[in-house]
C-alpha cells in the first residue's frame, strides 16, 4: 500500500517537474511582450465535474490538475491518436472549468490538439479538440470562445460546441486589464482534415 501511495505521489510530482511550462496566466498587460498576445477563452463541461470525480489522494503538486483541463497546443497541426508524450505538454493551457482564462502566447496561430483531464494518478479522460486559433501579429488580445463539452455518464462526449460568449469575456477582460487594448474576437475553428 505504501508503495502504491509513493508511486501515485511520484507520478504527479514527476509530471509537474518534467514537463515544460504551460502558457502563463496573465495578471497585467505589462507581462505581455511586444511579440506576445493574451489568449482569452473558457471551457465548460456539462454536466460539470463532480467533486468526487477527481481523486488525487496522497498525491502532491496537483494544483495544475485539479478542476482543470489541460489543452495540448502546437504550432503545427496533427491529429493525436495516442496519449500525449512529455514534450506535448509544452505550452499547454491549464484551463479551469467554468472560468475565463487569460494566458500569454506568442503572436502566431496555433492549434489545440487535445484536452486531457486527470481523474486520478492512473486514469485520464481525453476531450476531442482539433481547433485552429487564429492569432495575428498585430493582436494584443484574442478571444477564442467557450469550448462547451456535453458528456454522458460514461464520460463519452455527445456534443462539442464553440460558443460565442464575447460580451462576458470582454467585460472580464476590461475589468482586469482596462480598455487600452481591444479584445479581438476570433473564435476557434475546427480543423477539417478528413479525407
Amino acid at each position: 500500500m505504501i508503495r502504491a501511495r509513493v508511486c501515485a505521489a511520484l507520478v504527479c510530482a514527476l509530471l509537474a517537474a518534467c514537463v515544460g511550462p504551460a502558457l502563463s496566466p496573465v495578471e497585467s498587460l505589462g507581462e505581455v511582450g511586444s511579440d506576445q498576445v493574451v489568449i482569452v477563452g473558457r471551457v465548460e463541461l456539462l454536466p460539470p465535474l463532480a467533486k468526487d470525480e477527481q481523486n488525487f489522494k496522497n498525491m502532491v503538486g496537483t494544483d495544475m490538475l485539479r478542476n482543470k483541463l489541460l489543452l495540448i497546443t502546437a504550432e503545427k497541426w496533427r491529429r493525436m491518436s495516442a496519449a500525449p508524450e512529455r514534450a506535448d505538454y509544452d505550452n499547454r493551457i491549464e484551463a479551469p472549468f467554468e472560468q475565463t482564462f487569460f494566458v500569454r502566447s506568442g503572436s502566431k496561430p496555433f492549434y489545440i490538439l487535445l484536452g486531457e483531464l486527470w481523474l486520478s494518478a492512473g486514469d485520464k479522460a481525453y476531450f476531442p479538440a482539433g481547433f485552429r486559433v487564429d492569432v495575428r501579429p498585430t493582436d494584443k488580445a484574442v478571444y477564442i470562445g467557450t469550448l462547451r463539452y456535453r458528456r454522458d455518464e460514461f464520460f463519452q462526449f455527445t456534443k462539442r460546441d464553440v460558443v460565442d460568449d464575447y460580451e462576458r469575456a470582454n467585460a472580464e477582460f476590461r475589468k482586469k486589464f482596462g480598455s487600452k487594448y481591444a479584445l479581438r474576437k476570433a473564435l476557434v475553428t475546427p480543423v477539417n482534415d478528413k479525407k
Binding site: L119, G122, D123, K124, A125, Y126, E153, F154, F155, Q156
Partner: protein, 180 residues
C-alpha cells in the same frame, strides 16, 4: 510450517468466499455476464471481475462478480448505468506478482440495465500492449466463446433458481451450438 498452514487457511477461505452459485432472482434485478479470455494475460486465470455503478450514484459503486472458466457474472443487478471496472487473476508459479489487476479507464463504454432480464456484455480477450518497461493492455472483442457458450458454463450454478429458466429459454432462442 506456520506459513504453510496460513496459506492453506487462505485458500480455504478463498474457496468459501468465491461461491459460484447464483442466488434467487429478486425483482427488478438482472443477470449480467460476459467472458474474458486470459490466454495472453500474465495472470493464470480470471478469478476477479468488478463493475462500477455510475448511475444512480451510490456510496458503494463496485459490484464484485462471480467468475468461472473465464465467464464473469453477477445476479440481481439493479437498474442503472454501469461500466466494467477491474479484472484480474493470480500470477503463476514463477510470476513476479502473486495477483494481477487490470483496470478499465473511466472514460470507457458502459451499459445500461433497464427491465429485468439477462444482459450479455460480450466476449473479450486480454491483449498485451506497450512494452516490458511500460506494460499496458488492450481488450479485444472476440466471437468465440459466444453468448450461448458463456451461458452453458454458468447454467449449472443457476439450478433451482428462476435464472435457470431464463438462461435455458435464452439458449433455446440462440439455437443450436457450434459443431465440435
Amino acid at each position: 510450517m506456520r506459513k504453510l498452514v496460513f496459506c492453506w487457511v487462505l485458500i480455504l477461505l478463498h474457496g468459501c468466499a468465491s461461491n459460484k452459485s447464483l442466488e434467487e432472482a429478486i425483482s427488478p434485478g438482472s443477470l449480467v455476464f460476459g467472458y474474458m479470455d486470459m490466454g495472453e494475460a500474465p495472470a493464470t486465470e480470471l478469478t476477479a471481475f468488478s463493475l462500477r455503478q455510475v448511475l444512480p450514484k451510490t456510496d458503494k459503486p463496485f459490484l464484485h462478480m462471480r467468475t468461472h472458466e473465464g465467464v464473469f457474472y453477477i445476479e440481481n443487478v439493479a437498474p442503472g448505468s454501469y461500466q466494467m471496472s477491474q479484472f484480474g487473476g493470480p500470477g503463476g508459479m514463477f510470476s513476479s506478482a502473486s495477483f494481477y489487476w487490470f483496470n478499465f479507464p473511466r472514460q470507457s463504454d458502459g451499459f445500461r440495465v433497464g427491465k429485468p432480464g439477462l444482459y450479455y456484455l460480450g466476449s473479450y480477450k486480454y491483449k498485451k500492449a506497450g512494452s516490458i518497461f511500460n506494460p499496458k493492455f488492450d481488450v479485444e472483442s472476440i466471437k468465440t466463446p459466444d453468448e450461448r457458450e458463456a451461458i452453458e458454463k454458468i447454467l449449472p450454478f443457476s439450478k433451482g433458481t428462476k435464472w435457470e429458466g431464463q438462461l435455458r429459454e435464452r439458449v433455446n432462442q440462440l439455437g443450436a451450438g457450434r459443431k465440435k
